[in-house]
Structure formats: structure tokens, C-alpha cells
Symmetry: C2
Subunit: 552 residues, 2 copies
């Protein structure tokens, strides 16, 4: 088996094909490999020579669970690191069924365009009439033109190169890292993918049997069943209960209005469920409160646009999340940037925590780069460095790293900056509580293991939520039976390690050095002031041990 990569250079209009092996599995590994090889060192993420890839893996589109996902990889305009951003739904499914494992885009189109990707290649089509449209309007316009297809597009934020612009696929997103701005810099408003080819499987019958086993494991796992019932909002109560729910720009760990965002409260407003292709969990919950409605409402949005801004009404947060989706902006970075700004206003004697109308107005201004939005569109680390709670310029997600030594180490050493998903140790320390969050012992090893494992899972491409139920053995077996290339569980981890190291080396090449493996100064020096985690400070004590384990 091999990966066929479809290249398109928008400056020249040329397309060509490249064939690559499975050395780095696919997905995230494939994207990083392409970027490492083809992106000129030091190239700006928003310049003509930049490259953005959309990658699938050998499990994409197969009967394995949650196999509709895809992974976009580019140098991020927000972090200036390599950045892989993942999206559920069916985009990956359709892309892989074109016969191409990946699409790689470079150059800049002469006019605003959309790309029509099929088994016959990629056509570049004028999108001047789509310019300025919201993401849902754009999806609808292309779906009504093409019929069955998968659309990924940018909103106003991506058009205006907001550094945390997302790429939206319905209510799912390639959310973090501003890859929407990379598409915007190429004048690509949307991609519409239509795949009709079959997915190759080396041993179809054995693969189906293993896939079925995995589906059953998911459906008999309590954590997965909670996810199935409530979606990610289920974690908010737990995080608040532990006192690590970042509130008012990380100035507190307990939010007095957390009750408004309880799992039962949120699910009481359920309007529809949205699942990825071939996923038994269907964790995307469409929520309607009053007049506000948002698809796939996630915990991270409740944290970033709710607690972290001091906004305590569910309807308000749903409205803000929807606005972010329609404008095409990452809710975590948008919320983190507003939180930094709210804090700056407070220091100027103008406190505005909880001011929903101000937040709403600022989101619009950011997407248009008007007024304060002109600065805030750069993200908190550039616009308000002294108030920014970020690592490598990426705003932190909703798990205060002061409450867990592993979470702190995972944030600091993530190659894409402040991120909980490179090594989801928040699961071990905060949710499952299978390890003691207050000790540093063993955390270096744990973080490294999770980083390697998830680099592999992201490269298969599989949903990382499946890791609550599946073991490395399951992933290795699925890969072996799909590709025909034998992979042991140990080799799976070694491949993950190689992919992770490739990312670290990419960052070094681009000038993002080891000294950026740290946390916001404030979290290292200021304790969580009250609640169940009162008195805790972030520690980087295990960093040295981690470095001795992580040799790139």
C-alpha cells in the first residue's frame, strides 16, 4: 500500500501526483513528512510558498470506528510551529474515496476560488460570489450545487487572515492553529470533495472482524458511553469540582455559574446528534437554547467562551460558539484572546467580565479586523503578551495545568503549543484519575508515552477518544489488516515517536527552540487562589527527566 498525494499549485494552476510510503503511517505523520520535505525553511505561513495538506490514513473510510476524520497540516500562522489540526465528520471519508490519501496545496490563486476534488483530480473554480459568506452558507451553496459531497471552508476570519481562523466542515472544525488563515492567504474559500472509489483493505474479512470488536469495546466502555450520552460537555462539572476549570483568564479554578453548563442542563436542550462516519458514539450534540443554536457544542467552547470570560448563561455561550463557527474561528483561541483583553480592561479600571454583548461585538470585529479586532485578530500572545495565557502562542485549553504535573508537562512540551491533545494526560489526572495529579513522579514517562501513542493514532487516522477503550494492540492490528504491512504494538509506538520527533525537529528548523517548552510565567508563580486546588502552582520539575527520555 502507498499514499498518493495530489498536489495543486494555485499560482501556476498545475496539479501533479506524488507517491509516498507508509513510513510515517499517514495522516498527521504524512502531513508533517510532506511539510518537512517541501516547505522552504523559514517560509512565512501566509506567504505564497506555504503549503497546507489535508491527509487521511490507512484506516480512513474503513469500517473501523470514527474513521471519517481527516487531518490538516501546515506551518501555523499563530504558533509558527508545525501544526496538525483534525476534523471529524465525513471529509476524510470522501477525500480517501477519491483515491488520494492527501491533498497538498501551495501557491496563491489569482482570484477567490473553491477547489473541486474528485478522483479525476482538482479543479480550481472562481468563488468570488462566495466571498464574505458565513461558513454554513458556503457549505449550503456548494452542497446544493454538487449534491453529495464533503465541504470544508473558511469564514470571514479566514478571509481576513485572523491568526486563529478555523476551517469548518459543517459544525465540525479543523479548529486550532489558524489553518483557516493559511487557506485564506491562498484565496481558497472552500474545498468540496467527492469520492466514489472503494477503500483498499489487505485482508477485508479479518479487518471487518477486528473493526467490529473495536466497535463493541467502545460501546461497553463507561467513559465512551458517557461521551455518547452527553458529548464533551460532560467533563465540565468534573473539572469544576476539582477546581481546575480556568475562569476569568485563569484567575480562578472554580466558576460560580458552572451549574448552567452541567451535563444534564446542556443535554436538556439537545436538538440533534451528529456523528462522524462509522462512529457508534456520535458525540456531536446540536444544542438549542432560546433562539441560540450551535452544532457540536463542545466543552472547550463552554470553558473558553463561558467560564474564562465570566459568562454564566448557556444561551449566551451557545450564541458565541455559533458566531465563532459561522465566522470560522477557533473557539479556544478566540475565547482566550477575549479573556486576555477583558483582563487588560479590568486593569485599566474597566471590568467587564461576563459582558456577553462586548464579547459578541469583539468577535465580529476580530473577523473583520476592525477596531480592537485589528489587534486581537493576531491572537493574545501578539496583541496582549502580558495577559496571554498561552504556550508557543497557542491559547491554553480548559484544564488548568496548575492542578496536575502531567498536564503541565504535556502543555509545555507539545510541539504545536498550548494543547491538551498531543498527550491527553488530563484524562489520566483529572477525568479518570488513574494517577495522582499532585505528584511529579512518573509523569515524564507518562507524557512521553501518550505523545507517542497519540502521534500514531492521529496518523492512522483514528479519533483520539477511541483511546479510552482501545489498546495499542487494537490499533496495530487494524493497521496490519488494512495495509498488509505487519505492525506490532511496540512498532506502532516507535512510529509515533518518530513522527513526534520529526515535528520537534521541524520546529527547531523554524526557530522554535527548546526554551519555548515552558508555561505562562503567571501559572508558574501564582497559585490557584481558592477551591479544591487552592495553593497549587504549575511545575516543570519533570522537564529534565522528560528531556532525557525524549531524544530527537
Amino acid at each position: 500500500m502507498e499514499h498518493r498525494v495530489l498536489w495543486v499549485d494555485l499560482s501556476t494552476g498545475e496539479t501533479w501526483e506524488e507517491v509516498r510510503g507508509l513510513e510515517h503511517l499517514g495522516g498527521r505523520g504524512l502531513g508533517v513528512e510532506i511539510l518537512t520535505e517541501h516547505l522552504p525553511a523559514g517560509a512565512d505561513p501566509l506567504e505564497e510558498r506555504s503549503i497546507i495538506t489535508f491527509c487521511t490514513g490507512v484506516l480512513t473510510g474503513t469500517p473501523a470506528p470514527a474513521s471519517g476524520r481527516a487531518c490538516a497540516v501546515a506551518k501555523s500562522p499563530l504558533t509558527l510551529t508545525v501544526f496538525d489540526s483534525h476534523c471529524g465528520g465525513s471529509f476524510g471519508y470522501h477525500l480517501r474515496r477519491t483515491g488520494y490519501s492527501a491533498l497538498a496545496i501551495t501557491g496563491v490563486a489569482e482570484e477567490w476560488s473553491w477547489l473541486h476534488v474528485t478522483g479525476e483530480g482538482c479543479r480550481v473554480i472562481s468563488a468570488e460570489e462566495l466571498r464574505g459568506r458565513s461558513t454554513s452558507e458556503t457549505v449550503r451553496a456548494l452542497e446544493s450545487k454538487l449534491g453529495r459531497c464533503a465541504v470544508a471552508c473558511i469564514g470571514r476570519a479566514g478571509e481576513n487572515l485572523v491568526r486563529f481562523a478555523s476551517i469548518m466542515h459543517g459544525s465540525r472544525a479543523f479548529g486550532r492553529g489558524g489553518l483557516g488563515a493559511v487557506l485564506g492567504s491562498k484565496r481558497v474559500k472552500a474545498l468540496a470533495v467527492q469520492g466514489t472509489l472503494g477503500i483498499p483493505l489487505a485482508e477485508p474479512a479479518a479487518f471487518r472482524a477486528e473493526a467490529l470488536k473495536c466497535h463493541r469495546k467502545l460501546l461497553s466502555n463507561p467513559a465512551c458511553m458517557t461521551l455518547k450520552r452527553y458529548g464533551t460537555p460532560n467533563v465540565l462539572e468534573k473539572v469544576n469540582f476539582l477546581g481546575v476549570l480556568p475562569t476569568r483568564n485563569f484567575s480562578a479554578g472554580v466558576f460560580e455559574h458552572a451549574g448552567s453548563f452541567g451535563a444534564e442542563e446542556v443535554i436538556g436542550h439537545l436538538r440533534a446528534e451528529e456523528g462522524c462516519f462509522s462512529c457508534p458514539l456520535r458525540c456531536g450534540k446540536r444544542i438549542r437554547v432560546g433562539k441560540a443554536e450551535a452544532g457540536s457544542l463542545e466543552y472547550e467552547s463552554l470553558f473558553a467562551l463561558g467560564a474564562n470570560l465570566g459568562i454564566g448563561e448557556l444561551e449566551h455561550v451557545v450564541r458565541l460558539a455559533r458566531v465563532c463557527d459561522e465566522l470560522g474561528m477557533d473557539t479556544i483561541s478566540a475565547g482566550g484572546t477575549l479573556a486576555a483583553y477583558f483582563e487588560a480592561l479590568e486593569q485599566r479600571g474597566n471590568p467587564c467580565w461576563g459582558d456577553f454583548r462586548l464579547a459578541l461585538r469583539l468577535l465580529g470585529q476580530i473577523a473583520e479586523r476592525e477596531g480592537e479586532g485589528m489587534a486581537l485578530a493576531e491572537g493574545s500572545a501578539r496583541a496582549l503578551p502580558e495577559h496571554s495565557i498561552s504556550v508557543k502562542r497557542l491559547e491554553l485549553p480548559g484544564y488548568d495545568p496548575r492542578g496536575g504535573a502531567g498536564v503541565a508537562l504535556a502543555y509545555a512540551t507539545s510541539p504545536r503549543g498550548g494543547c491538551h491533545l498531543r498527550a491527553p494526560v488530563y484524562v489520566d489526572e483529572y477525568l479518570a484519575q488513574t494517577v495522582d495529579r499532585r505528584t511529579t513522579q512518573g509523569k515524564a514517562e507518562l507524557v512521553k508515552h501518550r505523545q507517542d501513542l497519540h502521534a500514531a493514532i492521529d496518523s492512522l487516522v483514528m479519533c483520539r477518544f477511541t483511546a479510552r477503550a482501545l489498546a495499542p494492540e487494537n490499533y496495530a492490528k487494524l493497521f496490519t489488516l488494512a495495509s498488509g504491512e505487519h505492525l506490532s504494538p511496540e512498532e506502532l509506538l516507535r512510529r509515533g515517536e518518530r513522527i513526534f520527533c520529526m515535528e520537534v525537529r521541524f520546529n527547531r528548523r523554524e526557530g522554535v527552540g527548546e526554551e519555548e517548552d515552558t508555561l505562562p510565567e503567571r501559572l508558574l508563580t501564582h497559585e490557584i487562589p481558592s477551591g479544591p486546588s487552592a495553593g497549587m502552582r504549575a511545575t516543570l520539575e519533570p522537564l529534565e527527566e522528560y528531556r532525557s527520555l525524549r531524544r530527537c
Copy 2:
């Protein structure tokens, strides 16, 4: 002779004295030496550990011409390079008469403060009542309190950490590089210096004779006499005539309203002359047009706030220049940043060239970091990289480098970024026209020579305008007779070379590498469209030869 440096750490309140030799002469050389030795590598210009020095030289306060000047040195928040910024008037004169050659400030004061510097040291005094005041109000408040003294202060821009905030001394400025933001980050609103001690001279009589000779040379030099009559505005007509007057963000080289800024036109509105201590030229011209009045109106302000914004009325430009002075902002970077923004608005279909009221409003917003000003306060390279005409993030001055190969090379290789003063080759190529501006031959050598010479002049400290009339022999002799340490003209240049290299090495250490020795892409690829320099593009052809000469 030696340099006594007065240190003050605002965080601890401690002051102490350091004694340094004349190896790097003084002034600029002394400041860079202090920074290299004491500033931790990688420190942010606006953090607590940052250092700002105010330095004088062995000629400061002596009867040598224009010897009242001083030099501030810090790592610039705009360019992230080492940055020396020079100011005329009498600040240097007063500082040297305290018995200290230099003042070095680190740490952050607990509350907004002003520093009272005398022969007895430095006192830190509350300035809460000065906060928010304009620069002229601040100077008046301290002068009325202290009587005879020299005040340097910041305005709202410095208080709000605008990256191109200046430090004002009456209508003179430590203008470029945002050193006002460095003071602001230390919560220092002003310095008031009162010196009463004599200036040491090794051979007083011989020194006075040589100084008198230099005064006579200045007064018999035609270029200096033009400067004496008209101040720097005299060059505008010449630059426009050559077609290298940057207009509307460097989109043209001829400005149709240049006549409004002719030397005779400007001087017709003369209200007063302001000279530096011991200068026979008194080139600072206070101009009043209608209700607008600005002290020391310079060519660079006419270019940056006039032609480069398409604003053609002298009264408007005088008003904008005054606003910049009162808010404490570098007029070149303020104008360059507005020009980039005007161009962005034009591309969005909203042309506003010549819109004086918009420019006025934006300057106020920048100083307050409100609305669009929040982004624009970061300077054009950060706020609007695709429209920024800057080198190393410093907005270019008013000589289009496309019109002269030497000017282009000088801008590209300046260690403090887009600057005409490290190697004032615009004099040779555009004003005196002693070399052919259209050839690249000999330009590498010329630029290197000027860089070395002016590094030495800046370190004596002498006004660089004196170089129109004085030779290296004059400077070397003045230094020898003042310090008692023999210096040949050749050794003067070697010292200048060492100082320049110390700056280059500082920049390398801080991550500003050789690849940043370049020009805005647009000037390399787009020709001057019309006028006497039509068809010219910037060239960096002599860069290789320059590098073979410049070995640091």
C-alpha cells in the same frame, strides 16, 4: 579619563556606580558595551530585566560644536535589535555635568515615577500626578518645580507601551526605536537632570583652539549654512526633484503637493529657532501655520506625515507632527504605520490618502491603544506586515532606496533597522551628489566607511550634521585633547568599526540574523513608477562585497 556610570535598579531602589574605560569612546559605544555586558540574552525589551542607558561622550558639554547631545541605548521593542537613539538640546550637557557619563536604568518602579539625577545620584520620586500628561506639560511641570534643568519624558504613547514611542526633551526627541516604551515599561514618566560640575579637559587651551576651528569650518560650509537657514526641511525639494520622495506608502517618488513644503514656504512661517548647546547652526525651526505650531519641524516629519500619507497642506502636517510630539511618538514610524494602514484601506476599496482628520484620530487611538490603535501601536511590521515598508521592523525614512544603490545597502545593513543615519549615504547620493547614485560600484566600501565613521561620531558624542564640514582628523584631535588619550584618525575609524561590530554581534545573539539584512520585498521587485527615477528598483547587489569587507 574614564566613564562613571550611575546605575539605578527601580525594582529594589538601589543605586550604584560603575567605572568603564574609553575603549568604545563613549556615547553610543558605551551604551552598547553596557547592554552587551549586562542585558541577559533574549530578555524582552519591555520586561523587568531590560536596561536603558543615557550616555554622553568625552566631547559632551565641551566647547566643541553641538556638544549638548546625548544618546539613549536599549534593546528596541520595535526592532528587537540593539538601538541607539540620539537627542539634541541640552540633556547631554546637563547629564555630563553631574559627573556621570551615563545613567543606566533597570527594574520596574512600584508606581509611576520621575527620576531626579544630580551630582549626588538619582532619586526616584512619585509621578502619579504626571501620568496622562502631554510631554510639554510634563516638561513644564518639572521645570517649574526645579528651575534650571534638562527634562526628558514620555507621553501617553510611552505610558501605553506603543512600540514606537519616543522620549521627548522639549521639541527634541530620542525619537526612533520605541525607547519611550522601554521607559514606560519601567514606569518612568520623566528624567530631570541637573548638573553643576565642570567638564574635564586634558588640554583645555589647545582643545578650545581646535573647537573654535571646527565652529569656523561649520560656518563656512555651504551645506551647513543652508541647514542653519532652513533646517532639515531644505532637503524636501531636492528629494522630490530627484523623484525619490516616498509618497503614499512608497507607491510614488514625486509628490504633487511638494510645493507646500518648500524650504522658503516653510521658513516663511518661522516663529523661533532652537539650537543645541554650543551649536552655531541652530537648525531646529519652530514653525507656526494658522493655529498649528510645532517645534523643531524636520524633513522626516514632512515626508512621513505629509507626502507618505498624501497629505498636502503644511498646516495639517505641522498639526500632526505636534500631536506626535505631545503624545511622544516617533513621527517616521507613526507616519509609516498610518501609510501602511491607508494602503490596506485602499485595497479594501476605501481610499483615504490625504485624510488629515483620519490620521489625527488614529494618532490619538494609537497612543491610547484604542480601536485600530491597539494594533497600529505595534508598528506596521507587526500590524500590517504585507503593507509595511520597513527593515528589521523599523519604518523607512524619507529617501526611497530604489533611487540609490548606496542608500539601499545602508538601509539593509543598518544594525538598528530601516535607518538613514547609520551610514548617511543619502547625502552622497541624493543631496551632495558626490557619487553616482545609479551605480553599485564602490558602494559597499562607501557604506562601510560611513558606518564606521558615524559609529565613532555618535560615540564622541557629536552631531552627525557636523560631518558635512569636519574631517576624521578634527574628531580625532578633539578626542585626543579632551581625553588626554591619543587617537589617530585611522584609530578613530577602527574604534567605530569595533562599535559597529559589537552591535552586529549583539543582534546575532538576540536572534536577528544576517538574513534580515534586506529590504522590503516590494522595493526589490516594483519599480518607481514615474518621475525622474522612474524604472529604478532597489538593488542588493553590493551586499556580497559588503560582507567581505565587514567582518564581525
